[in-house]
Structure formats: structure tokens, C-alpha cells
């Protein structure tokens, strides 16, 4: 599973900022602990022994100000340590075994966690929800970077678990897969990679080069077809993609192909005319098979921000998208918008693109994704 490693390395690298940010946040609060109650700070002592415990119980005398704040911790704006939970603090500190900076989970910290998630393109709403879920029942607890990462990763994995499903294969042949997306999202490359994978799995595949608009898009797909060893049906530039799709259906049926992959021209979701063109392709192939297309894949670019939500919504409404592929996850883009998408639409994520080579298409693994997104080392 070299892909996994590669993906993980890349994703881990990409999330380094998130990690740094977390450390910074925790340290910010941690310093206050040091200043105000040095004897409770476990990070100062490499091997904390149980001795500080009674000291901490008697902690009020160096910091009497803390006392009034204790009965109403939720209202306390300052990220001060909650000295009322020494047992937990000590337990956690003792387990860590090395200097760990901790910080109480408070409003201020939650807000900063939210921002970190937002910086991964997760979107404001989803980031709020994820942090709220983490905070539930843990408010005021002292947490370390590693623990926060674990919590975030678990929460994200929980959201992503139901949507990580590979492209379903039906007994019906030819299974028609329509690939749609905005311009430059990586549709053609994804088709090349998909064709290669299905071919390797022993399926007979036919590709229809339905991007008759962009210059040399057909040639591009032909080269991918050659690489994957899959026939590519083409039509001249500027011709009707629907008629090409129809011809491709005819050919795929005649040849008894297992899969027909139909490429389409990139279109922005707010272009009604182009969305109508897409609808026409669907209408026309339904003449051949009323159930087609069996899958409609929406290809999303990981560098895209919150517009991905609008893309999914519109394409789902107008083109009946059945699954997602996210490309360009090999860059520094964190793809956090996938969490927002899973949260909102629940569409299955079939695969992710992690490079320009023909085998750079990996299945979506929610745990690894979550770990990579949060920088959690497993």
C-alpha cells in the first residue's frame, strides 16, 4: 500500500501548520499556568511524582484570586487553569511521561481551535460543530496537543466514516459512469486513472471523450487511454457531446464492455446553459439504458474553498451526482471542505487524487484522512 504511505506523508506534511497552530494555542495557555501556579505545572518536571498533588490541593494560597472564579468556570473569560481538578491533571500528566504543556479547554481556546479548522477549508459552520462536539463534557479540562489532535481526529473520522465508500460496481453492463465538475478540477486525469484501475481489475472499459469544447481535451484523454490500454471514443471539437455519449453507449453495448466512462467539459455550476447541456447528455444516454448513468462522479479540486459546497449542491440537484472524487490532495491544500461536504450532503467519497501519475488515485480512508488533517501521529 505505497499509495497510503505517500498520501499520508503528503497529508501529514500539509497539515504541519495545523500542528504548529495547535502547539501555539496550547502553549499560550500553558504559560499562564506556569506563571500563576508553577507548582502545578507538570511540564517543568520531567517525571512528575505524586508529591505535587497535596500541594495543589492547597494551591489557593499563592493564587487566591482563582477561588471566586471556580464556582462559575464557564463565565470566566481568562484561560486560567482550573485548579479544582487536580486528580485528572495529575493522572494525565503522569501518563504522558514527558514534558507536556496543557491548557484548560475554554471559550478562548475553542475559538482558536475553530479558526484552525477553518484554515483547513472546513468552513465556519462545520468547524463550529466539530469543536462544539469536542468541548461537550470536556469544558475546563486540561488538555495537551496530542489529546486535542486525537479528539479532533476521532470526531472528523466519525463524520467521514459513513461517506468512505468505493465506487460501487453493478452486475449490469455496461455500467455507465458520467464524470462531471468545474473547469480544471481534474476530470480527464481522474478518468485516465479510473480506467487504468478498472482495467487492472480485469474489467473491459470504454472511454467517451465528451469534452468537445476545450482545445486538445480529446487528445489529452486519448493519451491517458493509451497509457491505460483502454479505447477512447472521440468526436470532433465543437460537436455535440450528447451524440458522442449516445454513440459510445451503442459501442459499449455492442462490445459488451463492463464500464463506460464518459468525460464531460468543465462547467461552472452557475452556468445554466452548460448545466442544461449536461442534462441533455443524461437524457440521451437514457434512451439506450433508462437507468444510466449508474454513477455520476463529481470531481472536486482540493484547493477549492467553500465554493465546493455550492458545486456539490448544484451538481447534485441538476446532474444527480452519486459520488465524489477529490483531486490534488498531494499539495498543501488540506481538503478540509470534505468534512463540511460529508456533514452536509453525505455523498460517498469514492477516491482521492494524490498526484499526476496514472496510479495516483487512492481509496478514501477516513481515519487516515482525519489523522493527516489534524497531524495526529498514529
Amino acid at each position: 500500500m505505497a499509495f497510503f504511505q505517500k498520501l499520508k506523508d503528503r497529508l501529514l506534511k500539509s497539515s504541519s501548520r495545523l500542528e504548529e497552530g495547535l502547539d501555539a494555542i496550547v502553549e499560550e495557555g500553558g504559560e499562564e499556568i506556569r506563571e500563576e501556579a508553577p507548582e502545578t505545572e507538570p511540564s517543568e518536571t520531567t517525571a512528575p511524582d505524586p508529591a505535587p498533588e497535596p500541594v495543589e490541593d492547597a494551591a489557593p494560597d499563592p493564587e487566591p484570586v482563582q477561588k471566586p472564579a471556580m464556582p462559575k468556570p464557564a463565565l470566566d473569560p481568562a484561560p486560567e487553569p482550573r485548579a479544582d481538578k487536580p486528580g485528572l491533571l495529575q493522572r494525565l500528566a503522569g501518563r504522558a511521561g514527558k514534558p507536556v504543556v496543557r491548557r484548560a479547554l475554554d471559550d478562548d481556546m475553542l475559538e482558536q481551535l475553530e479558526e484552525l479548522l477553518i484554515a483547513s477549508d472546513m468552513g465556519v459552520d462545520t468547524a463550529l460543530r466539530v469543536t462544539a462536539n469536542i468541548a461537550e463534557g470536556r469544558f475546563g479540562k486540561q488538555l495537551s496537543t496530542q489529546e486535542i489532535k486525537r479528539l479532533l481526529a476521532d470526531e472528523i473520522a466519525r463524520v467521514m466514516e459513513p461517506v468512505a465508500r468505493p465506487l460501487p460496481i453493478y452486475p449490469k453492463t455496461p455500467q455507465v459512469v458520467l464524470v462531471v465538475g468545474v473547469n480544471g478540477s481534474g476530470k480527464t486525469t481522474t478518468i485516465g486513472k479510473l480506467a487504468s484501475q478498472f482495467r487492472a481489475a480485469g474489467k473491459s472499459v470504454v472511454i467517451a471523450a465528451g469534452d468537445t469544447f476545450r482545445a486538445a481535451a480529446v487528445e489529452q484523454l486519448q493519451i491517458w487511454g493509451d497509457r491505460a490500454g483502454v479505447p477512447v471514443l472521440t468526436a470532433p471539437e465543437g460537436s455535440d457531446p450528447a451524440s458522442l455519449a449516445f454513440d459510445a453507449m451503442t459501442k459499449a453495448q455492442a462490445e459488451g464492455a463492463d464500464l463506460l466512462l464518459i468525460d464531460t467539459a468543465g462547467r461552472l455550476q452557475n452556468r445554466a446553459d452548460l448545466m442544461e447541456e449536461l442534462a441533455k447528455i443524461v437524457r440521451v444516454i437514457r434512451k439506450k439504458d433508462p437507468e444510466a448513468p449508474h454513477n455520476t462522479l463529481l470531481v472536486l479540486d482540493a484547493t477549492t474553498g467553500q465554493n465546493a459546497l455550492s458545486q456539490v449542491e448544484t451538481f447534485q440537484k441538476l446532474a444527480n451526482v452519486s459520488g465524489l472524487v477529490m483531486t490534488k490532495l498531494d499539495g498543501t491544500a488540506k481538503g478540509g471542505v470534505l468534512v463540511a461536504l460529508a456533514d452536509r450532503f453525505g455523498l460517498p467519497i469514492h477516491a482521492i487524487g494524490v498526484g499526476e501519475k496514472i496510479d495516483d488515485l487512492a481509496p478514501f480512508d477516513p481515519e487516515e484522512f482525519a489523522a493527516a488533517l489534524t497531524g495526529l501521529e498514529t
Binding site: 484554515a119 480544471g184 465546493a308 490534488k328 498531494d330
Partner: protein, 503 residues
């Protein structure tokens, strides 16, 4: 889905305007919303943070003038700051291409639109600046990328460097330089392969190309839909290669273009152009005022006015205005308005540019209203005799039947059209009285006439925009539509007049 940034901000400031004065608390509340709105618009987090801070520093301590609401005051400050951040030094759209042959290097991530932009820019330089341009693709990685540029070159009539397989990027760049020098070209454009900013070998390749040709301009092409990663992309490309400007593509999408703000704030380099479509002439110079205005919910009014100027003849507008003032509005006027709307890019195009109308246009889409309605209504008017057009009140059952048949529609459609014409005539009458001529005249000339142009920027000033009037205009549009969904076309012209009124 999210409201777009302008809707969101107008909501915030609407709330604010209902309170009395501009307190610290007001500013804070508003700016918190501004920050969320910026983040949802894909402005990168550090940029959004800095921006909000800058606004806060400016906003606190400002006294509220009596004539404006606190909301307007904040809008103005935010607007000014947006323009300030977005605007670069020098003319946008100007390229340093004086000593021929001037190399232009195009760089960016995969799929950001480099090749298409190269084609668009070459066409622009050829046609607008009268330059001889040579294009060369250095993309030896993506299948058929060089072929794509060659085909584009053919389409737009710009020369491309002949493709020689097996060369590396630096070799191609050198060959392009040589050919440009020998062939007497003014400009040669190097379209590079898409690359991730973290791919070291590829970034090295681009550095080598840069060192080989010493580009006069290095343009970073960025997808306008880019999210938080925009900052890293800009930093890396600028740091390693040193860019001289940015081109934002796909700004015709419904993305909110927060990347524009991020790019400017991070690199400090000007945004030179924006790509607005797939056609080869869909490239415009970047105008910070316009983008800032759009972000702030004032709509792209400048664009609307310009478009109106392109399509509407001043004389015609003058004549119409006089008629409107007298409260006359017959079928001929209506037809003229409908035709103008189609010319200006149809319902959606016009609505999209109007402030606060984003929601409306969405609703209208939802109700299945589109430009075919406009065409049908024009067909109905064309089926009338001259007398009927001038005096629509003479229409009785038999005439109506004939007209509907002539247009291939139902009598009910015609009735809707008549109702709309009556409503609009009423509106015009009211406007004429209310404005005592002057206001309407100003509005009309601002909208349609060329002479009115100097007034427009003043009218655009956010401080003078009353969000309530906007809302009212939007409501008018809504009520015009109410109960007769087939008649969406009717709503806009009163909306347009309402739009004039708020000045």
C-alpha cells in the same frame, strides 16, 4: 447554501443601522460578522484577521456624522479598507512589455487556467495593444497541453512556437526567445506546466526558465475559487520565483473571490486581470473598486452602468426619460426595456449586478423564470398593431385573442403582460411626481445616459447607499412577481426605477 458575502454583510449592517449610534460594541459585533463572512468567502484566515483588525482600528474613535446611520459608517470604513487592500500601485492591466521581445512567464497550480489565460492575454495584447505575440508551451508533462495551446493559437490567430518533442522546459524557453528575437515579435509568452508550490524539482525548473529568459512579467494564475491554501500558494510562488502580478480566473463562477483579498494581502503584488468565462475575450482588467463594491453588497453597479452604456443609446434614454416623467409608459416603452434587458445579459445578468438582488435572482431561478419569458413578452408586443402598442387600453377580447394567437401564446399571458405594463406606468407616474423631475432625471441619466457618468461614482459611495432603500427595491421586485410567477420579466424595470429612487 451560504448567503453570499454581500448578502451577509448587508444583513449585518441592517441590524446595526437599527441601533442609534456607533458604539464600540456595535463595531465589534459588526466586525465579528464581517470576519465570518470573509472566512466563508474563502479569504484566508490570517488575512481576514488582519483586515478586521485594520478596520477596527479605523472604526473606533470615529464620530458618527448625523446624516448617516452607524451601519453606513461601518460599510464605508470596510469599503475603503477593502479598496485600499485590493488596489495596487499603477494601472491594473498594464504590463511591462516595452523593450521587445518582452517575455511573459505564466505560472500556477494545475488546473488554475494558465493555458486559457495565456490565450486570452495573447489575444488582448494583439488586438488591444497591437503587439505581435508568440506563445510557447513549456508544459512537457500534461498530456496534450502543448497541443491545447497550439489549437488556441490557431483559434485566436496568434503564432505559437512549433512543438519539438523531447525538449525540456528551459530548451523550449530559449528557443522561444530566439524565435521571438529573430521573428520580430514584441512579446513572447511562456505557458508553464501546472505545479504544486511544494514540488521542489518543478519549482527549480521554473527558476531555471526564469534565469534563462529574465521575464519582464511573471504572472501567477490563480483559480478565483481557491480556498485557504491561497496564502501558501502565493507565498511560495512569490518567494521562489518572484511574481510581478496575479491573474484571477473563474471569477464568472458563484465563488466569492476571497482569494483576491488573500493574494493582494500576502504578495502585495497587483491583481492585473480577471478571467470571466471560457471564451477567448473573457478577460478584464481588475478593478478594486468594483470588487470591493461587490463584496459590500452594493452590487457590481459600475459594471451595470457600463453595460447599460454600451447597449443603450443616450438619445433613446433621453426620450424615454421625458416620457416617463410625464407618466407615459406604453407597450413600445415596455418592449424597449425588455430588449435592453436581454442585451444586458438577460434577467440573471442584470439581477446579479444589482445590489441586494442576489437572493431575488435565486428565487426567480427557483420559480423557473428565465429569459424565455422576456422573449415571449416581446413576441406578444410585436403581435400588436401600432395603435394597440401606443394605447394598450383599447385591447378587448377579440383583439387579445388575435394577439395571443399571433405570438403563439395564451390570452392569460397577454393579460399578465398588460397588468405589468399598467403597474409600470403607475410606478413611472409616481416616480415622476416624487422626483419632481430632477431626481428621476439624475437616476435615468446615471443609468442610461453617458452624460450622467460623473455622477455615478458619487452615487456609488457606500455612505450614501441606504440599505433600507435597497431592501425596499428588492421588495418591489418581489411584489411585482407575487402571484404571477410567469411574469418575472415585469419585476425588473420597476426595480430599476426603485434603484434610482434610493439616490
Amino acid at each position: 447554501m451560504f448567503e453570499n458575502l454581500s448578502e451577509r454583510l448587508s444583513g449585518v449592517f441592517d441590524r446595526l443601522s437599527k441601533q442609534g449610534a456607533l458604539s464600540d460594541e456595535d463595531v465589534k459585533t459588526a466586525l465579528r460578522e464581517v470576519r465570518v463572512a470573509l472566512l466563508e468567502a474563502d479569504v484566508s484566515l490570517p488575512v481576514a484577521r488582519d483586515f478586521v483588525k485594520a478596520v477596527q482600528d479605523k472604526a473606533t474613535g470615529q464620530t458618527v456624522t448625523r446624516s448617516v446611520t452607524p451601519g453606513q459608517q461601518v460599510v464605508k470604513i470596510v469599503h475603503d479598507e477593502l479598496v485600499h487592500v485590493l488596489a495596487g500601485e499603477g494601472e491594473p492591466g498594464e504590463l511591462k512589455i516595452d523593450n521587445a521581445p518582452a517575455p511573459i512567464l505564466m505560472v500556477g497550480l494545475q488546473g488554475s487556467g494558465k493555458t486559457t489565460t495565456t490565450g486570452k492575454l495573447a489575444k488582448r495584447l494583439t488586438e488591444k495593444n497591437g503587439k505581435r505575440v508568440l506563445m510557447a508551451s513549456l508544459d512537457i508533462y500534461r498530456p496534450a497541453a502543448m497541443e491545447q495551446l497550439r489549437v488556441l493559437g490557431q483559434q485566436i490567430g496568434v503564432d505559437t512556437l512549433p512543438i519539438v518533442p523531447g525538449e525540456n522546459a528551459v530548451q523550449i524557453a530559449k528557443r522561444a526567445k530566439q524565435q521571438a528575437t529573430l521573428g520580430g515579435y514584441d512579446v513572447y509568452m511562456l505557458d508553464t506546466a501546472g505545479r504544486l508550490q511544494i514540488a521542489q524539482t518543478l519549482m527549480q525548473e521554473i527558476e531555471d526558465v526564469r534565469d534563462a529568459v529574465n521575464p519582464r512579467e511573471t504572472l501567477l494564475v490563480v483559480d478565483g475559487l481557491t480556498g485557504q491554501v491561497a496564502v501558501e500558494v502565493a507565498e511560495e510562488f512569490d518567494g521562489k520565483i518572484g511574481i510581478s502580478g496575479v491573474v484571477l480566473t473563474r471569477m464568472d463562477g458563484d465563488g466569492r473571490g476571497g482569494a483576491a483579498l488573500s493574494m493582494r494581502a500576502v504578495t502585495g503584488k497587483p491583481i492585473k486581470f480577471v478571467g470571466l468565462g471560457e471564451k477567448m475575450d473573457a478577460l478584464e482588467t481588475f478593478e478594486p473598486d468594483r470588487i470591493a463594491g461587490r463584496i459590500l453588497g452594493m452590487g457590481d453597479i459600475v459594471a451595470l452602468v457600463e453595460k447599460a452604456q454600451d447597449t443603450i443609446e443616450a438619445e433613446q434614454a433621453e426620450r424615454m426619460m421625458k416620457r416617463f416623467q410625464k407618466g407615459r409608459f406604453n407597450m413600445n416603452d415596455l418592449k424597449m426595456q425588455l430588449e435592453q434587458m436581454i442585451k444586458m445579459g438577460g434577467m440573471e445578468g442584470v439581477m446579479g449586478m444589482m445590489p441586494g438582488m442576489g437572493k431575488m435572482s435565486k428565487q426567480m431561478q427557483g420559480a423557473g423564470i428565465d429569459d424565455t419569458v422576456l422573449k415571449q413578452q416581446i413576441a406578444l408586443i410585436q403581435s400588436m398593431t401600432k395603435m394597440e402598442r401606443a394605447n394598450p387600453q383599447i385591447l378587448q377580447a377579440s383583439r387579445k385573442k388575435r394577439i395571443a394567437k399571433g405570438a403563439g401564446l395564451e390570452v392569460s399571458d397577454l393579460n399578465k403582460l398588460l397588468k405589468m405594463q399598467r403597474q409600470m406606468a403607475d410606478m413611472m407616474k409616481k416616480m415622476g411626481k416624487m422626483g419632481k423631475g430632477g431626481m428621476l432625471k439624475q437616476a435615468m441619466s446615471g443609468m442610461f445616459g453617458k452624460g450622467g457618468m460623473p455622477d455615478v461614482p458619487a452615487g456609488m459611495d457606500p455612505g450614501q447607499m441606504d440599505p433600507k432603500a435597497l431592501e425596499q427595491a428588492a421588495k418591489q421586485l418581489g411584489s411585482g412577481k407575487g402571484g404571477m410567477p410567469g411574469l418575472g420579466g415585469s419585476s425588473l424595470p420597476p426595480g430599476l426605477s426603485g434603484f434610482g429612487k434610493k439616490k
